[in-house]
Amino acid sequence: MRRMLYGGLVVALGLLVWAIPAPAHHAFAAEFDANKCTDLTGTFTSYEWQNPHGYFHLDVKDPNGTVNSWTFETVSLSTLKRSGTSRRDFENAIGKSVTVRACLAKNGAKNRAAAETIKMPDGQIHRIGQDVEGKFSQY
């Protein structure tokens, strides 16, 4: 039963072998768990374009076919815009399938995660979150 409930997520987590996360000292790493990061694919449904963090929502099917609405946090709009992600990018993604690299909330909040990257419908991958996993430290 447990596997039925969490199977897909657990399997995905188990398959992904990332570098040992570098300790980070920013808010994202405090709020989200660098050891619980995964790729989630779903339909982009809506977003909140606001500071200090943007948010967006995906409808993600779990292994049982149940659709859950997920909430993802991004960096500030200032950082998004200066790093090449516009409100138009989010607007254009509505109703389409995207894949988010995301790290789950430490507080156990259901279906809530920090987004590190998003693969947009056009295939472009945007960095939209902080470096929870320490993957980007080399550049």
């Binding site: 897909g8 995964t38 989630l40 292994p63 156990g108 809530r112 991958i125 080399q138 550049y139």
Partner: protein, 280 residues
């Protein structure tokens, strides 16, 4: 189940690349490891010639300034050195203050942060813990700093006048300034005790006295050295290393902090850490 497994398997083996703005790297699919980002080709800004001067002969500090040496936004850590704690001596606290800070958890730090609470960084946080650019507009006798962060601003007289004898506490405090050679010295007292001087619990007392030394060694560079005296909290005065900002060529963006959902999230995390139940 197999369908779900397959979907997550497929998702899991898709490498997550990084869109590096400068290089425009595209995603690499079909790998089990994330695509390696390109080494940044960004270089520190050159000095750019001598600093400009205002009509009264002082260096003109005016400009839009980004933290670090990139002259703009960058993810490159080598170009964002303004928060490099390794190069800076840590503050030495009075024993009671050290104990108080030591008792805080990471979640406490977050709950106390100005950014989480949408509070102003104040002085000297707008220099020490501000990752966003600011604009300086200087005229003879006046220094105005416009922070992108929270759309905060401060206006300081640079004519060497004395402090208000009975100032109200405020986030930016009671600020006066004068020139020492080519360095603008901003002297601040009466700072609201809600501000912190770093991201990890460095609180202060009503006795905090901050001196910010701002200079423009060349066209493209702004240096800020901060000294903090706080006899109630610090065992001895603390002086920062020079925090480097570089000249950008773009306008500030609007950044009003609104509806930060992190507050509720951290409160829930605090409750969980305190054994108050696992929120599912």
């Amino acid at each position: 189940m197999k369908t779900g497994f397959g979907r997550y398997l497929a998702t899991g083996i898709v490498a997550v690349g990084i869109l590096c703005l400068a290089s425009g790297l595209a995603a690499q699919e079909g790998n089990s490891q994330p695509a390696q980002p390109a080494k940044s080709k960004q270089q520190p800004l050159p000095p750019g010639g001598p600093a400009p001067r205002t009509a009264d002969g002082h260096p003109d500090l005016s400009g839009v300034w980004f933290g670090g040496t990139a002259g703009g936004f960058t993810y490159n850590p080598a170009l964002r050195r303004q928060f490099d704690a390794k190069a800076e001596q840590p503050p030495q606290f009075q024993p009671w203050a050290a104990a108080k800070i030591k008792s805080m958890t990471q979640t406490d730090y977050e709950l106390g942060r100005a950014s989480v609470n949408c509070l102003p960084r104040g002085v000297p946080g707008m220099f020490l813990i501000n990752p966003y650019p600011f604009q300086i507009i200087q005229t003879p006798g006046l220094f105005a700093q416009l922070d992108e962060l929270n759309n905060n601003f401060r206006v300081v007289h640079t004519d060497g006048r004395a402090h208000n004898p009975d100032p109200d506490p405020s986030f930016d405090g009671d600020e006066v300034a004068h020139w020492e050679g080519d360095t603008l010295v901003i002297d601040t007292i009466s700072i609201d005790e809600r501000t912190w001087n770093n991201f990890t619990g460095w609180f202060h007392s009503d006795q905090e006295h901050v001196v910010e030394r701002v200079s423009r060694p060349s066209m493209n560079y702004l240096n800020v050295v901060v000294t903090i005296e706080d006899p109630k909290v610090l065992a001895k005065p603390w002086t920062s290393t020079p925090h480097v900002w570089t000249l950008g060529h773009e306008d500030l963006l609007e950044y009003y902090c609104t509806n930060n959902q992190e507050v509720e999230q951290y409160k829930a995390l605090k409750e969980k850490e305190s054994g108050g139940g696992d929120k599912k």
